[in-house]
């Protein structure tokens, strides 16, 4: 059993060991373009996302980070005006193919949002929402899932005595970890995180960063952040987006220490954004 508590704490300072060649690519994005109505938000994105690694997406506001990560689990389609070209393959399946059901994709690919968005239900109900949706009804199994997920999200100790209280009673950081637990409950392979700490205080941020480090053993993680230090601290690979284009995509330490592109350099040195 993997719980956050029985692991030894991991340093949140970026390690400097070089990242080894990825064993496997879980997502393959090819020539991907996306429009909101008339406005193009993503231009010819090409990117492979490695398995069991943390991939960070950085870039200034409005550059298409959220759009990109929402394309990965087709959440972007909730905006009716969206049009897309190009392919995204998940585990070698074209996610836009009509054979591939979007619910299945989203079951394998969890997502955590910028603002914690628990349901106005109890903590317990929040966690088991996914499994219940997928037809699991037995109380015993659900209880087990809840405990396991909350432990994985490093929240169990804080909430185990108040599982049936409303989730809105939690602090922002706890809510965000609850959302992570909720997402872990359906045992996804990939977790997409869209600025998961931007609404949180420093302490909660640290907790979530540790958690991400722990989770990458079992999950492939894509994280959007506007905080470059955070990207540097926790990710293995980093992509820099600007105006809907991938300007640079590289191992994190390389990208930060030795950017290839002038714009990347300007951005990471705080020249704009």
């Amino acid at each position: 059993m993997n719980t956050a508590t029985d692991r030894k704490p991991v340093s949140i300072i970026k390690t400097n060991e070089p990242i080894k060649e990825e064993t496997k690519t879980i997502y393959m994005v090819n020539n991907f373009n996306l429009w909101y109505g008339e406005n193009q938000a993503l231009y010819e994105v090409n990117m492979g996302i490695p398995m069991n690694k943390v991939t960070a997406i950085i870039g200034p506001s409005g550059c298409g980070k959220s759009t990109f990560i929402k394309a990965l689990n087709r959440m972007v389609e909730l905006v009716p005006s969206v049009k897309m070209t190009g392919t995204i393959k998940y585990n070698d399946n074209d996610i836009f193919s009509s054979k591939y059901k979007v619910e299945d994709l989203r079951t394998s690919v969890g997502m955590v949002f910028q603002n914690p968005n628990p349901f106005p239900k109890s903590i317990y109900e929040n966690v088991i929402y996914g499994p219940k949706t997928h037809g699991i009804k037995r109380k015993k199994i659900l209880d087990e899932i809840a405990e396991k997920s909350l432990k994985e999200a490093a929240l169990w100790d804080e909430v185990k005595d108040r599982l049936h209280e409303n989730a809105f009673g939690l602090s922002g950081g706890q809510q965000q970890r609850l959302c992570i637990a909720r997402c872990l409950a359906i045992e996804p392979d990939v977790i997409l995180m869209d600025e998961p700490t931007s609404a949180l205080d420093p302490i909660s941020t640290t907790k979530i960063e540790e958690l991400v480090q722990n989770l990458k053993k079992d999950y492939s993680i894509v994280i959007v952040t506007h905080n470059m230090q955070q990207a540097a601290r926790i990710s293995d690979k980093t992509a820099f987006f600007l105006n809907g284009e991938v300007i640079e995509y590289n191992n994190t330490d390389e990208l930060f220490s030795n950017p290839n592109d002038k714009r990347t350099e300007d951005y990471i040195t705080g020249r704009f954004g």
């Binding site: 909730l78 969890g110 968005n117 349901f119 106005p120 929402y129 359906i186």
Partner: protein
């Protein structure tokens, strides 16, 4: 170079602040105007009706003696009518709202439905009365039954319920949908398990306010011909019935002055029911309003 004459601005300031103060008082007076009128109205009704309002009044049928006249049949009729109207209008109204908010594509047909609903909201109740009379009472041969009255009322308040349900659904933050979809939930699962529970307070509040409108409506029921005297309780939806406003109307038409006072007692009962329904709406609104 200074284009703004600071001194002039200063000089005007006092005048502006005073007119602010005066208008504030005017606005205040305007908004208590309604409350003053309400007080006068209630004072008159209560001073006339209270002496007749007792347990006997609530539990007796109509009578030719003002002192013996009661409102039992009308209360029962109103309750029956509401218990037909409430589920029908809620199901159809919420269904329509869900369709418009969750499923409808933005096209001509949807626009037409929207326009149609806001138009229906403005159609006078007498016209609904004509509809009920022609379609339910005559064409569908329901007679002057609870079901005919209930259906007419349902259609009358349908637009109100649709609009308030739409608002309740629209007030649910996008991130709740996202959370559910991201978990692999289907649309219907999301609606049933996230949208409806979150929208229910708003739906109920709107529904109760709509029913309060229905419970006070006189004209459409006069038109479909609710009964004036019935001294037993309705047994099923095919029974004849009378309702509070009709009974009140009947009493106000009597020659005997005492009956007019009895009518006031009837109005008090109606107002108390309205007040109860409104309070329930407020309680629901406050208690269940979710803090996202």
């Amino acid at each position: 170079m200074n284009l703004v004459d600071k001194q002039a601005v200063q000089n005007k300031m006092t005048k502006r602040i005073i007119s602010n103060r005066i208008m504030r008082q005017m606005f205040f007076l305007a908004s208590i105007f309604g409350i003053v009128v309400l007080t006068v109205l209630l004072y008159r009704i209560f001073s006339e009706g209270l002496p007749y309002l007792d347990w006997r009044f609530l539990t007796s049928f109509a009578s030719r003696f003002p002192a013996e006249a009661g409102i039992k049949a009308a209360i029962a009729g109103s309750v029956w009518l509401m218990s037909v109207t409430a589920p029908i209008s809620l199901v159809i109204g919420v269904g329509t709202a869900i369709y418009l908010e969750e499923y409808a594509k933005e096209n001509k047909f949807t626009q037409f439905i929207r326009m149609n609903i806001s138009n229906l909201a403005g159609v006078p109740s007498v016209v609904f009365g004509l509809l009920g009379l022609t379609v339910f009472v005559r064409l569908m041969e329901m007679g002057r039954s609870i079901i005919a009255g209930g259906l007419t009322m349902s259609l009358l308040i349908l637009p109100i319920i649709v609009v308030s349900s739409q608002e309740a659904i629209r007030a649910i933050p996008k991130n709740q949908y996202e959370a559910s979809y991201a978990m692999g939930a289907t649309k219907w699962q999301t609606i049933r398990r996230i949208v409806l529970p979150a929208a229910i307070p708003g739906i109920l509040t709107g529904g109760i306010l709509a029913l309060s409108r229905a419970i006070g409506e006189t004209a459409p029921l006069l038109m479909i011909g609710a009964l004036s005297f019935i001294a037993y309780l309705p047994e099923n939806i095919w029974s004849g019935f009378t309702v509070l406003p009709i009974q009140i109307f009947n009493w106000t038409g009597r020659p005997q002055e005492e009956f007019h006072l009895v009518a006031s007692a009837g109005i008090i009962v109606l107002l108390i029911i309205l007040l109860l329904m409104n309070s329930i709406a407020i309680v629901i609104r406050n208690k269940f309003s979710k803090r996202y």
